[in-house]
């Protein structure tokens, strides 16, 4: 779903439907009742490849101690303009 002022589609939920055409309509009925969005994508669950909860440590923990990847880690030297 893309909100009226949003740039990117964000996930809003899942539903049952026999095919894409009905999935789109079901999504319209379930998720746009309060003007939540102006555009809908539907994707069959089988087309999604997801990371496994078992792989969580290997996937995400290594990033935890890499504070230098955040721009705020670096001090801007005095005298640097236009940064």
């Amino acid at each position: 779903m893309r909100a009226r002022r949003g740039l990117a589609h964000t996930h809003v939920g899942s539903l049952h439907a026999p095919d894409a055409e009905l999935a789109l309509r079901n999504a319209r009925d379930l998720y746009t009742r309060r003007q939540e969005g102006v555009s809908i994508w539907v994707v069959p669950a089988g087309a999604i490849t997801a990371s496994s909860p078992d792989e969580k440590d290997a996937f995400f923990d290594p990033a935890a101690d890499k504070v230098y990847r955040h721009p705020t880690f670096y001090e801007v030297p005095d005298g640097v303009a236009h940064l």
């Binding site: 049952h16 439907a17 055409e21 309509r25 079901n26 009925d29 379930l30 009742r33």
Partner: protein, 241 residues
């Protein structure tokens, strides 16, 4: 007879009774998604009914508001077409009713949107977008069921055959109305015929054409529907929640 008042009342009653019938599916639809879809359509119809009945009350000038018109009239005073009061039947009958109703309401509201009466024009402009979606929904199911399994085809064809006679009343002349319903039949046919063809459904032959709803002569089903719809208001006048 007062054209704009009679038309606002008739169309308001169409929408109100259609809303009540569709709401009967709530918690009973074949799947949860369809349950919400039918409730949405019922609420669209109810919204149109409120605008139309409020306006009818103002045109009448007798101090009746939307609630007085909805809850304090008896069946002989209702002006809805017979189509909307028919029982829901199975899901195919409900979809056949919705297909024919929305294929009538869409050109009707579109014509109203361009009429000289500003209030009716505004209501038509709002409601036609909703009708377009109702038509899309009903057409989709008619095609799916008609061109589905042997059993779904049999039931969809039976539904179309059962409901078809009640279509003709929709296009009867309406004296004094800002929109002449007889002019809408071509648009109805142009919408419905391709849907039936794609659904591999036979268009029933025209023959028996029951009517009388616009004059207050209804099927026996309406008074049962009204009893359920009106009981709370009649037992507790003015109740709100």
């Amino acid at each position: 007879m007062n054209g704009p008042f009679d038309l606002a009342l008739a169309l308001g009653d169409d929408a109100l009774i259609a809303a009540q019938r569709l709401a009967e599916w709530t918690t009973r639809a074949p799947e949860m998604e369809e349950d919400v879809a039918l409730a949405n359509i019922a609420l669209d119809q109810l919204g149109a009914a409120r605008l139309l009945l409020t306006y009818a009350g103002e045109l009448e000038g007798a101090g009746r508001d939307e609630d007085a018109l909805a809850y304090l009239r008896d069946d002989r005073e209702f002006r809805n077409c017979l189509l909307v009061e028919l029982p829901n039947g199975d899901f195919a009958v409900t979809m056949a009713k919705l297909l024919f109703l929305s294929a009538y309401q869409l050109p009707l509201y579109t014509a109203l949107a361009g009429c000289a009466d500003e209030r009716l024009a505004a209501i038509g402009a709002k409601a036609r977008k909703e009708s377009a979606y109702h038509l899309d929904h009903a057409s989709l199911w008619a095609r799916r069921l008609g061109d589905g399994t042997a059993e779904s085809h049999r039931r969809m064809q039976a539904a179309v055959d059962q409901v078809w006679p009640y279509v003709h009343e929709l296009f009867a002349p309406f004296p004094g109305a800002p929109v002449d319903p007889t002019t809408l039949r071509a648009a109805f046919d142009a919408t419905v015929d391709p849907v039936l063809a794609e659904a591999t459904l036979a268009r029933p032959a025209d023959g028996w054409a029951p009517a009388g709803g616009r004059d207050g002569r209804h099927t026996e089903h309406l008074s049962y529907l009204l009893a359920e719809m009106q009981v709370l208001h009649r037992a507790h006048p003015g109740a709100i929640w």
